[in-house]
Amino acid sequence: MTDPVPAVTITGITKRFGDVTAVDDIDLEIGDGEFFALLGPSGCGKTTTLRMIAGLDFPTMGSLQIFGDEVGTLPPNKRPVNTVFQAYALFPHMNVADNVAFGLKMQKVERAERDRRVAEAVGLVQLGGMESRRPNQLSGGQQQRVALARALVNRPKVLLLDEPLGALDLKLRQEMQLELKALQREVGITFVFVTHDQEEALTMSDRIAVMHEGRLLQVGTPEEIYQRPANRFVADFIGRTNLLEATVASSEEVVLSNGMRVAAASEHPTGTKVAVSLRPEQAFLYRRGAAPAGWPTIDGVLREVTYVGNALVHTVAVDWITIEVRTPYRSTETTPEVGDEVSVSWEPGGVTVVGD
């Protein structure tokens, strides 16, 4: 990070609820102005992490700093962060303007200033003219915007978003993804958002932290996470992939479970059980024997072809596993048919070794 003071610094944070460890000793730095995603399946501790930054839960141990100030045990109303809650949690007995003005009222911002900033925030999320509506008179997308305005009007140093798009339908969600990103660029503050949707995380964020069972597995840009997953779980969770069981033979080579030697760099000691991650779109399908010379090739039988609009997904049965191959769809091309003998091949170095 170029900025010397990170927006959020998490050091050795652990959170236990009774016997359950929700967050297990994580370290994380979120830079100023970043769009940062906490990604993982439900129950992985991502929401708990967010709630600890918000002050809605307190860490069992560890240190939590916002722009260098220790806030670990401060109540939520004493922190320079605001939250967009899952399902928004708008106040049902207040209209849009009162919802948005709530934070300013609590901070005793002067009336004129308050009105000006509320109008500005309502305009920012394009809800002008809706000020006197109540939340139950708004659509899901509009409620989402109110929730955003209600948080942003306070000019927080960090905006926290808990599954902000979870309640919207697919089309609206994709629209809002772009809008959120544009909004973040406009206001220029750090956004930390929680999601279980890897596609959403890849699309929107500058960096992603992948969490699983309370632990932080990998932090990196979407590309790093996708191309160089730190382990089997990350490889499998982010996008689709084929995991081929293998053993490390040297720092340059692994041996697949059918005895085939594959060139793939790894830092694991020789003999370690690992998996080779082959992305469906990095794999190529050829008629048996037609694979380019020098490319690693596995023979199999085509079991299934699924048309998914812009691509064909081929399921190929090899000796010990089925491999998914994704090929761009061109209506003019003839492709192998179900039952054909085929070869799955990839460019040397087109796979990643992942450990457990």
């Binding site: 809605l56 605001n82 899952q86 049902p92």
Partner: protein, 309 residues
Amino acid sequence: MSVIARGPLPGGRVPRVRQRAGRWSPTRAALGVNAWFVYAFFYAPIALLVVFSFSADRNVGRWGGFTLGWYEDFIRNESVQDAIWVSVRVALLSTVISVVLGTLAALAIERFRFRGRQTFDALLYLPIIIPDVTMAVMMLLFFSEFFDLLNLLFDADLRKGFASITVSHIAFNISFVSVVVRARLAGMDRRLEEAAMDLYASRWKAFRHVTLPQIAPGVAGGALLALTLSLDDVVVTQFAAGPGATTLPVYVFGLIRRGVTPLINSVSVVMLVASIGLVILSLFVQRSRSGSAAGPQGVPAANRARRST
């Protein structure tokens, strides 16, 4: 097309569906008779009561010509008026106090985790479960012993009366209020409070600006329930009351034992009119608020809670 056909036809003919709904059937007839029977069962005694409150005969059940004499008696009778006055004061005071305490108890149990919470929870329901008579005897014992002790210690002269009645009413009303308020609290999204605190509200401000408006219908329902229960109560009051003060229901109960005159009828009619007025008032208040946020859980929830006891 089928959608259009379902509406009223251009010729003004009634759609078929409604014709069918109006057709005679034995089940429908039986249900109709049943409804009338139930209404008669409810309201015939009330009608009789009202009618006989204007009867000139000294016997309660015999018609002796029209008179307003019993109402004059009622107006002149100071002990009846004292009893009414005590009733109203006890009801208002016990309602206010039990609404505050009951709401706090509901909040404590719903919102906080503390040692002994489950025990507290169970104990809170006790006054609803145990029979009135048991509660009454407990109160009698408690006040006798407690006042004796205080009198002995401080050389005072405390007796059962207004204060002891009020305290005993508070004791059972807290439970009812907290049941109603808890129902409302349980239906409220906790994240609303978190959102308020995230938006720089202190705990108290979050309660005042978010929680309280959300549970207000429940609190109002609890208050109405408490008011009604207090105005109605005979058994507990009878035991907790002393020679100094008594409430109207207890006074009427006493009248019956001494020999019934239609004065009772006139007193009852006045009480009836007063409570109908109260109900209309509360409906009016609910109506004027329901435009905003009042949910369906106000008075109906209170009635449900009450009926289940």
